[in-house]
């Protein structure tokens, strides 16, 4: 816990690791998924655009799991995080 905010670990998919200099995980603080994405974008500019659509929702084919549980259609503001949580960002299985 840093400054009263939970500390979480975020796993990035391969397609987005160009933003993180090749790192597959990032540790940062944030009480909500929205805050975590905001801070990801501050650290790696452009990453926020890759995750959120024009309306601030998760992009349609981006899945988010918190500790193995899908957040489903919940908006990033509504996803509360706890200290030690692991956030997996996964492209949905689709396409050809």
């Amino acid at each position: 816990m840093v400054g009263g905010e939970p500390r979480v670990r975020v796993w990035l998919p391969r397609a987005l690791r160009e933003y993180s200099g090749g790192e597959d995980t990032v540790e940062l603080s944030g009480a909500t998924l929205a805050k975590v994405i905001e801070r990801l974008n501050a650290r790696f500019p452009g990453l926020g655009y890759r995750l959120l659509d024009d309306q601030g929702r998760m992009r349609r084919y981006v899945l988010v799991f918190v500790n193995e549980d899908s957040v489903g259609d919940a908006g990033p503001d509504a996803v509360r995080l706890r200290d030690g949580d692991t956030v997996h960002i996964v492209p949905s299985v689709a396409g050809g």
């Binding site: 397609a15 987005l16 655009y49 309306q55 349609r60 689709a94």
Partner: protein, 374 residues
């Protein structure tokens, strides 16, 4: 790999899985570069005709959103901006795909996107502004998507007249502006509708699917269009589009409209344009499995079939709307990409054809230009 020199021909090929570049000094021997943006769809990539050096690529990640990237050294390195075009919050919609990139007359860049929208960038695709006069049309909720989606796929600035532009949307039709994009008028007059005997009128709503539109090389007021419901021509003062289908294959005598996707104009010969007819909207493959490009040299009064060197049996592919272009050499080169990954070209204005590349992914777009400009 030899460094490109001024005067080299550069062909940019956008595919379902990345963009490829083909470079040649003599248009006989080619070197390939790429693929770039592996795994991602590039619906359009174009060598900027104004500097002959920058290649713009509309890269669509179906997962992570679309961007417009650029290279100034033929793919040696790419610049990817932090964001792509975005609709404003109040619109309630999200840009999902880049369909068209058009360098403008004053150094600006235009992008046509899905869902249908027009965007402008004045800083080399780093940031974009929504063209509200078009994107906020009051009836846009009624715009129907075409088979490929609700996309703005054609952007036609008017040479020498900066406030004029025409754009095409599948399947909301054609819109023109004379005031720099503040106001837009529907320009679908004369086009066959989708119900028997229906013919559209200018200024009216209605469903029509322009597949591609191009300006004549010598007279920008002359437009040629491949529509879902036929091939048309229009010029200044015309109250409506005119059907120009004489000499084109007729599949269904009850419905003689000629179906296809691309239309291009010769780079400098007045009245000369090219199309690739398909069987019809029920079967979007080249006519009878025999590939042919059709050419008019008299503004559409008559079309002639060109097939020398093109496959004449078992060719069951599609040529998509942006998959045919000319270069600006003399004689003109013409390049056609297929959905089965072949890139054919002609060095003599379409009389004879040969294969330039094979085994690519389904080809979404082809552009050709001269490195360093002409």
């Amino acid at each position: 790999m030899a460094e490109p020199k001024k005067g080299d021909t550069v062909v940019t090929v956008g595919t379902r899985k990345g963009v490829f570049l083909f470079v040649s000094r003599d248009r006989k021997s080619w070197t390939s570069r790429g693929p770039y943006f592996e795994g991602e769809t590039v619906r359009h990539a174009i060598l900027d005709p104004w500097d002959g050096k920058t290649i713009w690529a509309g890269v669509t990640s179906e997962h992570f959103g679309p961007i417009v990237a650029r290279t100034r050294n033929l793919g040696g390195s790419w610049t990817t901006p932090k964001e792509g075009p975005r609709f404003p919050k109040e619109s309630g919609i999200t840009v999902t795909r880049i369909w068209q990139i058009q360098p403008g007359l004053d150094g600006e860049l235009w992008a046509g996107v899905e869902p249908a929208g027009l965007f402008r960038s004045d800083d080399g695709a780093t940031s974009w502004s929504s063209v509200a006069g078009l994107n906020d049309q009051p009836d846009r909720k009624e715009w129907p998507p075409g088979n490929g989606g609700l996309c703005l796929h054609t952007i036609l600035p008017y040479p020498g007249q900066r406030k004029r532009m025409m754009i095409g949307i599948s399947a909301a039709g054609l819109f023109g502006t004379n005031d720099g994009g503040v106001s837009w008028r529907k320009m679908n007059g004369g086009i066959r509708g989708f119900t028997p005997d229906k013919v559209l009128k200018d200024g009216e709503g209605g469903v029509t699917c322009p597949h591609k539109i191009v300006r004549d090389a010598k007279d920008p007021a002359v437009l040629y269009m491949q529509n879902h419901r036929g091939v048309y021509r229009r010029t200044r003062g015309d109250p409506a589009w005119t059907i120009i289908e004489k000499g084109l294959p007729v599949v269904n005598k009850k419905d003689p409209s000629s179906f296809g996707f691309p239309v291009i104009a010769h780079p400098y010969d007045r009245g000369t344009a090219f199309i690739v007819p398909m069987e019809g909207d029920f079967n979007r493959v080249v006519h009878k499995g025999a590939m042919a490009v059709f050419r008019t040299t008299d503004g559409g009064k008559r079309w002639e079939r060109l097939s020398k060197g093109l496959p004449q049996k078992d060719a069951w592919f599609t040529v998509l709307r942006d998959a045919m272009r000319t270069d600006d050499s003399d004689p003109a080169g013409i390049y056609v990409g297929t959905t089965t990954g072949q890139l054919y070209y002609s060095r003599d204005g379409g009389d004879r054809w040969q294969l330039l590349a094979d085994h690519l992914q389904p080809i979404q777009s082809v552009e050709a230009g001269t490195f360093g400009g002409r």
